[in-house]
Symmetry: C2
Subunit: 318 residues, 2 copies
Amino acid sequence: MARIAVTDGMADDAVSMLIEAGHEVDMGPVQLDGFDAVVIRSATKMTSQAIAAAPSLQLIGRAGVGVDNIDLNAATNAGILVCNTPGSSTQSVVELALGHLLASARHIATADRDLRSGNWTKKILKGTELSGKRLGFIGFGRIAQGVGKIAGAFGMELHAFDPYLPSHIAEEQGCLLHEDVNDVFRLCTHITIHCNLTDETHHLVNSDTLALMPGIGADGTTCGNHLVSCARGGIVNEQDALEALENGQLTSCALDVFEVEPAEDNPILQHTNFHGTPHIGAATVEAQNRIGFEMAELIIGFFNGDTPQSVVNREVLN
Amino acid sequence: MARIAVTDGMADDAVSMLIEAGHEVDMGPVQLDGFDAVVIRSATKMTSQAIAAAPSLQLIGRAGVGVDNIDLNAATNAGILVCNTPGSSTQSVVELALGHLLASARHIATADRDLRSGNWTKKILKGTELSGKRLGFIGFGRIAQGVGKIAGAFGMELHAFDPYLPSHIAEEQGCLLHEDVNDVFRLCTHITIHCNLTDETHHLVNSDTLALMPGIGADGTTCGNHLVSCARGGIVNEQDALEALENGQLTSCALDVFEVEPAEDNPILQHTNFHGTPHIGAATVEAQNRIGFEMAELIIGFFNGDTPQSVVNREVLN
């Protein structure tokens, strides 16, 4: 029997699985010392201090994908295995990113705001089609590939920058992989971010890269430039994105993720051509059920002596 | 040379085409008497009175699809040909309908409103995936088929009611055609409207039909019921839809079209789980260019003695 702390919530069925397997589950402990495992989402920050304060931990389970809220070096040095559930939220993020792309191209959030204010802005809200435009992916992993499948069906041309992806995988998805990220910005009127936040990708979307975007679609339509990120805050320089909205280089910007979350006093939130969601890429019934199920199975297996499949810091296993 | 009135606007290039072909174009005439043709969108109402007041008219060109703003009997009796541009806006409406479906499932308009108010409502805004759900089409013409192609790629199951469509056409698109419209409501958690407004379809979406919707997706997810219409106002009974939002039978409702347009004092606009757009299905640069080009070609051909392809009241030709 293991003692498991759950700090950011977990699907009920998944908690039941853990309890039925004989484990003790504490939903919202005051501190982590004495626990064998902790299940977190993105809100809990497993800093080196937090890790040092919980010497009993054997496993940090990230119910979700991104592990930028975990000090991986500190975890590895402490011999704590870090695992995530990488595939569980893919479809949910794919659908949100496409929702943002379509909502941007057709001013859906602005239109709804106008309607609620009693203004029938039909004549002002002329949009453009996604069809016939180039969509650029920064990062072309499983989420981007899912977005690409649908965007291709819309008639978009697919371009990507992903230095970690074998080019044949992009080719199989009908996507042209570029070696220089600037080429993706130069070619594409629509950019969607699907990479991790790392030193390489921090503020990769900035005034310089945004300035490269062409504003005219592959089909010759003056569609402006559109930016979507459902990846991780910090990849888009939000001040630069706001400036690009203000000077018209960006026609729209839609963000699900922010450098500082919760995003409350962020000035970009108030721009007419911005719309956003509060980091809800994986906030669906389906994704949370899949994440919970996958994490519960992983923890039960781990305390039965199995090696989890989705280990982030494999060094600990050696 | 013909005298052509344009009452609701027309793409610049299309107006130039008409002028270059030797015609006189008046953008916004006070009255229609003395004109040989009039180009309208949806705002101008060609009632029997308006038609009687313009005895010189030979052609009413509807730059768009729906002709419910034209008294077809009066036009036919007056020997006036009515033509539209049925295919030009298909892709734009397809993309808007899908944008509304995705925005509904993920609360995009609500999320943006919350963010702008300084509220980080991540925990409240749990959505559901389109994948694994049944999408019901009321009307399965070219727009619906375009939506179906993408919805199928999302992993939705397609059902339709369309008494005018040969069933093999639906089958070829992977869509099951039902003889009873109630079966579509009974099966589907997501309904999208793509029929014309006629006596048969007036208030076809009402408390009775909405009450049939299952609330639980084909995949077992409690996703609630979702309604989208980018077709024509009057097909959805808006009072009933609002009541269904209030009592929870509808989880979301997204409308681009309203019984009374401009929609300004409509109480449904203020419901949290409603979002809308001001009849912008065809309001894209691409659609307006295609519509204008198609209409200009049609008018130039007509006054050269050609028979237009897209005649709505073919009786006039006999």
